[in-house]
Each structure stands twice: as C-alpha cells, then as structure tokens.
C-alpha cells in the first residue's frame, strides 16, 4: 500500500478512536447516573444498585470504555435500557431505511450536480448558466425539511401521486418501498445538489483556464472532447472532497427528513430513545453515524489516489 494510503488509514483509526472517546464521555459520563435517570428519583438504593450492576455501571470508567469499544468492534452495541433487548438489532432494522435513503440522495446529488455544473460551466455566462446559478442560489437557501413539506403539499396533497409519508418496509416488495423513498430522497438531495452544482461549475471553469486544456485544443480536439477527456477528471478532484464532506450533511439531513415523511429510520429511533432517556441506544446510534461519516471520508480519500496519479506515485 502506498505511503499516502497507509498514513490516511492510520488517521482513520485515530479518528474513529477519538470519536468513540467523545461519544462515550459525553453520553456515558456527563449525564451522571444512568440508573437514576432511567429508574427515576423514587427508586430505592437497592434497585439502583441492581441496575448499575446489571449494566456494569459500578466499574471504573476506563474499564467501561474499553469494554464498550471491545464490544463495538464485534458489533455488540449493548443492551437498551428501555426495551431491555440488545441495541444492534433495533438499529440494524432502522439502518435498512436510513442508509438506502442517504445513499439514494447522494446518488441523486452527484448525478444532478455533475450534469448541471458541467453544463453551466460549458455555457459560462450564457442564459443556461445564469438560470442554473440562480436556481442553485435559491436551492442553497432552502431548509431541506421545508422543501420536503412543499413536495408533500404538491405531490401528496394536491396531485395525490405519492402518499404523504410512511414506509411499507422492504418485505412487501422493493418497488413500493423504493417509491416511498423518492420524495424524501429528492428533498434531501435538492439542497446538497445545489451546493455541489456550484462547486462543480467553478471547478470546471478553473480547469478550463489551465494550460493543458489549450494543449488539448491545439491537438485538434473539439471543445466537447476536451471537456470530457481532459477537463472533467481534473475538475472532479475538488468535487470529490466536497462529496465526502456532504455525506455527513446527508446523513444528518436524513434524520430530519425521516421526520417529515414519517419514515421509521434511525432518526425516529433516536428521538424515541431521547424521550425514553435510553442513553445506550442514543450512544450506539450517534457513534454509528459518526463512524459512517468518518469511513465515507476515508473512502473518498482512497478514490483520490485512484484519480490522481500524483498521489499514487508519492512514496515518502
């Protein structure tokens, strides 16, 4: 493995560990005694002691942390205070909705943004460009959950093409489930696509000014051919960084949009857990989301090396 990837992998591990420490400190230590939180102030000392013993809360902090991440590493996310069942199956079931939602929104974002951004750059300062820039300026300013509400107003309330929300589950046929994710994906993708469109456009414009573009034109390649063969790949480098950073926003946005469309995803689980004071579930969900964001960014950096030979060849 090239030095660049090794170094990046080390950073990934360090970031994951730091993330787990923060989540553990904030959610396990800061709130005080979970036993008191869950059982309430009326609980007897005996009840409290039993609870603490049951969940291992009477052990030293470092032991509890090491125990927690050791279990995390093998996919054991602990026991829910509220449901008294292992946390992982609860979360896994919800992830089947949240991950596909975030992924389809990501796909939509990338496809829309690349198409519109490249088109706008190719039409620099012409009506097509100005229209796309105007719409994207508006898009950036929309709250995604409000856009979702407007979509419900139009497509569910007025046109009746979609239901206003809910999720039939993957068991009843993939098509119906996918259909219920269309509006949520669009409302999630719209804002991010607007941001990415602008970044794609300025990146393409910047590359179009490079000397090697003139070289390619001097070889007799048409503007179109230069755009596809020489400009696009160079322009993608900054775009990919932003895509990686946007994934965090999309995942966070998914939690919001799930509320808009009443989708039983991770967001719903988290809000129930918050009102139940079910810290174990919140802890597991938060750490999982943070890990996902960090890992996606790692993958993006690996993609970098695939696209840019200057990174691949660098052996320090």
């Amino acid at each position: 493995m090239p030095a660049f990837l090794l170094k990046r992998f080390a950073t990934l591990i360090a970031t994951l560990l730091a993330t787990s420490v923060i989540v553990f400190l904030v959610l396990e230590i800061l709130p005080g005694d979970p036993a008191l939180l869950v059982l309430g102030i009326d609980a007897t000392d005996e009840q409290l002691a039993v609870f603490r013993n049951q969940y291992g809360l009477d052990r030293p902090v470092l032991d509890r942390y090491l125990d927690w991440i050791a279990h995390l590493a093998v996919g054991d996310f602990g026991i829910s205070y509220a449901y008294k069942t292992p946390v992982w199956p609860l979360i896994a079931e919800r992830l089947l909705l949240t991950y596909p939602l975030a992924a389809s929104a990501m796909l939509l974002t990338v496809v829309l943004a690349l198409a519109l951004g490249v088109y706008a750059a190719a039409q620099h300062n012409k009506p097509g460009d100005l229209a796309i820039m105007g719409i994207s300026q508006l898009g950036i300013s929309l709250p995604n959950f409000w856009f979702g509400l407007l979509l419900i107003l139009l497509f569910a309330v007025n046109l009746g093409w979609f239901s206003a929300g809910g999720f039939p589950g993957w068991g009843d046929g993939i098509l119906a489930a996918a259909k219920s994710l269309i509006l949520p994906s669009i409302s999630l993708a719209a804002v991010q696509a607007a941001i990415l469109t602008r970044i794609t456009r300025s990146s393409v414009l910047e590359v179009l000014r490079e000397d090697f573009v003139r070289t390619a034109r001097a070889k007799g390649l048409s503007r179109q051919a230069v755009l596809w063969r020489h400009v696009l790949r160079n322009a993608l480098i900054p775009v990919i960084t932003v895509i990686g950073l946007q994934f965090g926003n999309l995942l966070a946005g998914a939690i919001v949009v799930e509320q808009v469309f009443s989708l039983p995803g991770l967001g719903r689980l988290i809000f129930q857990a918050i009102s139940n004071r079910d810290i174990e579930v919140v802890k597991a969900a938060v750490v999982l989301l943070a890990f996902t964001v960090v890992t996606v960014n790692f993958i993006v950096d690996v993609l970098y090396a695939v696209i840019d030979p200057r990174l691949k060849g660098r052996d320090v």
Partner: protein
Amino acid sequence: MSDGRSGSSFLRRAFRHRSFVVGATLTAFVVAMALLSLIWTPYAPTAINIRRRMAMPSADHWLGTDSFGRDVLSLILAGAQNSLTVGVLAVGCGIVLGSTLGLLAAARRGWIEELVMRFADFTFAFPAILSAIMLAAIFGPSTMNSVVAIAIFNIPVFARVVRGSANAIWARDYILAARSAGKGSTRITIEHVLPNILAVIVVQATIQFALAILAEAALSYLGLGTQPPTPSWGRMLNEAQAMVFRAPFLAVFPGCAIAIAVLGLNLLGDGLRDLTDPRLSRQR
C-alpha cells in the same frame, strides 16, 4: 488596500454589486422584522384564540392563523428574533473560540497548529444535528442546546479559515520587520494579523450565519431546539405539518421566512467576498 480613501470607494463599489445589494436588502428586512417584533406585533404572538383556528389569510390576519388560532404574521416576526439570537450567539462563539484557535495555530505553528487542525478535521464527524442529539439526550431539548450544538460546529470552521489567512499574513515582509524589532507574537497578532484578516472573518461569519439559521430551524423542527411557546420558524413548520391536509398555507410562510433570511445572508456573503477580495475587486 489602503484604508483612508478606500472607505467611500468600497461603498460605491458595494452599491453597484448586485448580490451585495439584494443580500443586504433581504438581511436588513429580516433584522427589521426582529426589531419590530420587540416593540410591536399585530397580535400577541402567543395569544391563543380557539374560535379563530386555521383562518385563511385575511385583512385581520394577513398570513392567517395557526392551529391554536395564533396570528401567523406575529409568530413570524417574533420568530425572526429567535433565529437571529441563536445565530448571533452560535456564530459569535464560533468566531471568538475558532479565531482564537486559528490565530494561536498560526502564531505558534508546530504541534499546536497540528493539534488544532486535527481537531478541526475531526469535528466534521459531528454535524450540528448529531451534537444536538447528544446534548438533548443529556440535558433535554432547549434553545441553549441549539446554540451550543451550532457553536461546536462553527468553531473548527473559523479555526481553519483564520489559520489559513493568518499564515499568509505571517509570511509577509512587514511581519518579519516587526519581529526583528523585537515584538512578541501576541502583539504582532493583535496589531498586524488580526486587522488584516477581519474581512475574511466577516465574510465567513455571514455565510455561517446563514447555515446557523438553517440548522436552528431544523433543530427546532425536530423538537431538539427552541421549545413552545417561544415562537420559532422551525417549530411553526413542525406544527404546520400536522395540519398539512387541512391548512396547507401554514407550511408556506415560515419556510419563506427562513429562505429569505438564508438567501439574504448568502448573497450578502458572496457580495462581501467579491468586494473584499483584492484579486477580484478590480474585475467588478
């Protein structure tokens, strides 16, 4: 840029800059809404009137009434207050703490810089909503939650931007001169670095303010932020959603208010960036 005469020429250029003018106008409009709500609203924003629930917009209630019979216009005016307060507090914390870290990193370099930058890299794993979820899980939902969560998200942004610009200033000749004159790095930072990066901080603050308003609305919408009865745009949308089939117009106005505030700040930020960037200023 020299400061003496450029003041008036800055204003002259600013008034010709389309994004700046539109952005400043929209932002001023939102600020005016918030200020107005301090002294006057058509009705008391929290006054419930069960007999006038979900009234369509009319001469009495310009934007209609909500499911509790409250006047929507009054709620939106008062909601501006909430959005701007959270934005100012959260971005203010971000500026103060983030810029301090960024200036420190640029002045000290070495492991301190490395530490600050790693910290900044690391916080992207926690979007504001994730921080807010953790805070709400511990302390219960509140406006202060929104402020803290959004501030946490803002600190690394300012640390990064300030460090980048400050490093560029530190590399200049007159800093070298100041150093060889025996000035300490704290004094150089205050006398030379900070004044030169103020424009960058202001531009970034404008854009972060827009993001803060979006985040605040999302948190209130989710019920993690501002709690009833305090009027907030996000909360209004949450309540409107339940009525979306019976009173769809309720979902429209608070969203417009958010979009206007965010659009205004974004345009203002774009305009300020163009106007203060010495590379671009001559082209405009």
